[in-house]
Amino acid sequence: MSDGDARAIATDRAGGASEPVLTREDRASLLRFMLLMRAAEERGLRLYKQGKVPGSFYDGRGQEAISVGSSFALAPEDRMCILHRDLGAHFVRGVSPERYLANYMGRSGGVTGGKDGNLHFGDPELGCVGMVSMLPDMAPVATGMALAMKMRGERRVAMTYFGEGSTANGQWHEAMNMAGIHRLPVVFVLENNGYAYSTPNELEFAADPVERAESYGFHGVKVDGNDVEAVFEASVEASERARGGGGPTLIGCRTMRMHGHGAHDDMSYVPDGVLESWERRDPIDRYRRHLADHHGFSEQELDEVATAVTEQVAEDARRALDSPMPEPSLASEGLYAEAFRPLGDGVAPWSRWAERKPLRPVNGNGRSPSSEASVSRSAA
């Protein structure tokens, strides 16, 4: 499939809305975040092979355009539940490669400080709720965040992800259905990467789950998941719709998981030639070419972005390796919360957000101050 075909798929989803404006710098950012995700995951995999990562290792190679393109659309006050193939979204929202790598290695400098591993994290300060293993359990959670936003009359959005395999689970259905009934401001990003672990699409469902959006009463769109701007545009449209009270959107991204489910998985179940053909649609290579061909980026400029990323990851890996293991006594801390602390806002690198007003109403339907300040009386 050529670049042109991919575009055709992308416009498939268009609803006539005017194109969101990406500056030159925004485009460089999109490339940079994809490169950052790839480089950080490559580094993580190396650390794993060196025995520095306990447990298992999972990455999202080949799927970088999805998490980067979708999260790039969000405002600081929006909220995310990010999944195991979506490292790029953590970087967009402000997590550093250092904290990602440290988390994988179980170090105290990791986002969870060693309490949880892998991509099972979300930085509350950056408006994220860390995923659990059970799939797709974050779909109801994101739905609940959107419910709170709607109850308070806020122009905000919750966004979450799931693989196509996870759509078989009942919780997916429950979340879609509830989101549809109340037209909640939630954006669901479906990543169809061909497989659930080893299980191919034909054993996961008999009809493309994107098609189901309609039967939940909301919009479903198909985009080329290897085209970062297509994902971005669909996400902008979905977020704007959500903010305007138009309800949820299911964005179905077709892509391919270019690595095994985890590092131990040799993908012997993937037929010959499939990976090779997807390799030619690599989202990073394609976007690099696209920037050169259509947006006047020079090879030197593009190389500079790549070099900066390489250096950043190298430096962050060093720092992550310097981070100590947690003290064993930490294990017995933090079972219960002493008090509620609200989520913070994420970084929103899209230039559009640089100077706009906050999306939360200043008063009226806003958050109850008592609830934010509320202090637990429990003995804990």
Binding site: D137, P140, G144, M178, L335, F340, S371, R377
Partner: protein, 348 residues
């Protein structure tokens, strides 16, 4: 057996009075256990607009047991949200709303349906703070217990499942005043709290309950009777049974109402066990790996030298709760069983 025993019908069943609570400055009013729960919920919704209810048929209908009767009128349908028949979505959405600063109170129509929302409760809600340092202040109300031919799916006491999920708080009031005070504390707590309300007590118990704000700290047991020859440790529906049994036996016994199962008031348990040397743990839930087992294990380990008799458990056996009255009565602990268990220990 008639339907009001389930608390569904509006008629009132004969009520029993539990010992008076400490007097409250704001005055008090006679309430049933069910009214006390409604009252706490209403007070908290008035006090804090972040508090909202979500569950099946809780809006216009006021809930299967009418706990939220009139709430939709007072607070609007958006804060008394009729959910679709989807327990994982209810609990999962509550987690999401809670981290966003709301204070959701979920109602399971019957506690038995917690099995349908189990994953969100034990994997998402319970572990969130430990893993991510993120508090999820929410309550899951669980109308529990049997005794009215609810059968195998409307009579369960699910507390042991919840206690095996570190990160949840679990409370089980045995009186109207505690129901109000513990629910208030649960709503204000920063953690997911499972609130077990025994359906058999809904309209059976009635007593003066403090008006206005009333908080009973989570994690504190309460002494209902004080005596030196035996301690009966109970919670929920077993508290009344235990009190009645020791009263009728005129036994010199302590009755300890646990009130909170997690955190557990281990100190109060051990104090009573050491003082009396004989312990009976009583609950309606089935036996294996139940609260009785845990208390017996704690007492046997930490009060070993003080024990004058084996720690006994009075519980339902390991069976589903059957429907037909003679079968159900054979399974659920009865007053006669309680008296016999007390007598045996006293005579040991």
């Amino acid at each position: 057996m008639s339907p009001e025993a389930t608390g569904i019908a509006p008629e009132e069943a004969p009520s029993q009075t539990t010992p008076a609570q400490p007097t409250h400055p704001g005055g008090s009013r006679e309430m049933t256990y069910l009214e006390a729960i409604s009252d706490a919920l209403r007070e908290e919704m008035r006090r804090d607009e972040a508090v909202f209810c979500i569950g099946e048929d809780i809006g216009a209908f006021g809930g299967a047991f009418k706990v939220t009767d009139g709430f939709a009128e007072e607070f609007g349908a958006a804060r008394v949200l009729d959910a679709p028949l989807a327990e994982n979505a209810i609990i999962g959405a509550a987690v999401g709303a809670a981290v966003e600063g709301m204070r959701p109170v979920c109602e399971m129509q019957f506690s038995d349906f917690i099995a349908c929302g189990f994953d969100q409760l034990v994997n998402v809600a319970a572990k969130l703070h430990y893993r991510q340092g993120l508090a999820a202040p929410m309550v899951v109300r669980l109308p529990s217990g049997g005794g009215f031919s609810g059968g195998p799916f409307h009579s369960q006491n699910p507390e042991a499942w919840l206690l095996q999920a570190p990160g949840l708080k679990v409370v089980a009031p045995g009186s109207p005043a505690d129901a109000k005070g513990l629910l208030t504390a649960a709503i204000r707590d920063a953690n997911p709290v499972c609130f077990l309300e025994h359906k058999g007590l809904y309209r059976y118990l009635r007593e003066p309950v403090p008006e206005g704000e009333y908080v009973v700290e989570l994690g504190k047991a309460q002494m209902i009777r004080e005596g030196d020859e035996l301690t009966v440790i109970a919670y929920g529906s077993a508290v009344g049974l235990a009190t009645q049994a020791v009263d009728e036996l005129e036994a010199d016994a302590t009755v300890l109402d646990l009130r909170s199962l997690a955190p557990l008031d281990t100190e109060a348990v051990l104090e009573a066990a050491r003082r009396t040397g004989k312990v009976l743990v009583a609950h309606e839930a089935t036996r294996t790996c139940g609260v009785g087992a845990e208390i017996a294990a704690i007492v046997s380990e930490l009060a070993f030298e003080h024990l004058d008799a084996p720690v006994r458990r009075l519980t339902a056996p390991n069976l589903p709760i059957p429907f037909s009255p003679p079968l159900e009565q054979a399974v659920l602990p009865q007053l006669a069983d309680m008296k016999e268990a007390c007598r045996e220990l006293l005579d040991y």
